[in-house]
Subunit: 222 residues, 2 copies
DNA sequence: TTTATTAATGACTTAACAGTCATTAATTAT
DNA sequence: ATAATTAATGACTGTTAAGTCATTAATAAA
């Protein structure tokens, strides 16, 4: 009796126990990003990740041998490709360094800060001491390449006389920090205290103005 | 037989089961800060906190009714007193706003960033979504008062013509962010990847230079 | 259609840890 | 010295969730 009705609906809803070897890993990674973002690494339940991907926990272990491995796959898929993109922009850019810097910052904004991968950064910082291998992996593949990229841009601007002669290494931190701050803030406190959220519309424009003002040679208006 | 030897060593080592009602809460909070800083809130074990304070877990519950309450006590003891100090500086300050801003930033550096309480901020951001009450408490008692304090300073400088007319709300974020970045970084990635640590000596001076350069009226050299 | 293969399941095992409470012993009062 | 008080203990309970594996059933091969 129930089956007669079920069959008429079967077109959209996927079968239970459907076998989809190829699609699973990607679906599991997507589900994992969501759950890790919401709960953090330690508190994320594999049961939840599995459910969100439409399978059960046992299935997760067919494709990933542990929670760590699943997490690493998520980082690999999201953050690392963004860095590579920034590096190619630097290599090919022709215009002024001011334009280059602005372009890379806008790229990072749309490619990382405003994506669903944004919460992962918070997570790494949060759980670095509990999962050192994760932290090393992230440092080597995301942080270091990202910092080197920005450092090269600053050096180019100082050499060309567009920027004043700042301490490159620290200035990299000062430029990066507001992005991370917003990423961290929006996916933590702001999710819990609704009144706490930041004006994200104008944030990027204000930041670019702030950074360029600080780097500008004094006495110039541009 | 074993007792004969034990007794001869008893002078320095405190007695087991020693009763020290007054000293316990403070010792537990100190131990808690260390363990929370190392492991995060969820992963911190009360057994570890108790052991580090020289007692057992049962004792913790004589003084704090839950893990959350112990954590809140730690935040109260460390971060909230710093904010209050900054507020009094603002109220009484006589000199230029540039000097005021520099003074408050240096105060924050020595009163928070360079103390053992520094890792607590990371922790709140990390676990805000799992422990919303903690996040609210922190937002209300630390973040909001801290931001308001900085906003008032910026407004004072704009009104007096010392600073250019920036968007106050965003600029507060830009000024705060490098501090938080350093705090987060040093107590996460840098603990695990030794080569990753930042030059902390000159960080504060560079930052103040960077901030003031950005706020300066263009065309001026000071 | 029948058989073989293997993706998917979910009940089970194990471990960790927050929080409880009856018992023990250090300290204080008598 | 003895009794009364209560700080401290640690064995215990309950819960949660990672990881395992024998069973089940969807698909491919014969």
């Amino acid at each position: 009796m129930p089956e007669a009705y079920a069959i008429s609906q079967e077109v959209v809803v996927p079968h239970r126990r459907e076998r989809r070897k190829d699609a699973r890993p990607g679906e599991l990674i997507d589900a994992a990003i969501d759950v890790f973002a919401e709960r953090g690494f330690a508190a994320a339940r594999l049961d939840d990740i599995a459910q969100r991907a439409g399978v059960t926990k046992g299935t997760v272990y067919l494709y990933f041998s542990s929670k760590e491995e699943l997490f690493e796959a998520a980082v690999r898929q999201t953050l690392m490709s963004s860095i590579a993109h920034g590096q190619s922009v630097l290599r090919d850019f022709q215009g002024s360094t001011t334009e280059l810097l602005e372009s890379v910052l806008r790229g990072w904004w749309h490619g990382v800060v405003r994506t669903k991968a944004a919460p992962l950064a918070k997570l790494i910082f949060a759980e670095a001491t509990n999962f050192p291998e994760l932290a090393c992996f992230y440092h080597e593949n995301v942080i270091e390449p990202g910092r080197r990229l920005l450092a090269r841009i600053l050096e180019r601007g100082i050499a060309s006389g567009e920027f004043r002669d700042v301490t490159v290494n620290h200035t990299v931190s000062f430029v990066i920090a507001p992005f991370l701050y917003l990423q961290f803030y929006e996916h933590s406190i702001a999710m819990v205290v609704p009144a706490a959220s930041v004006e994200t519309e104008s944030f990027l424009d204000s930041l670019i103005d702030y950074v360029l003002a600080s780097l500008a040679i004094r006495g110039r208006t541009t």
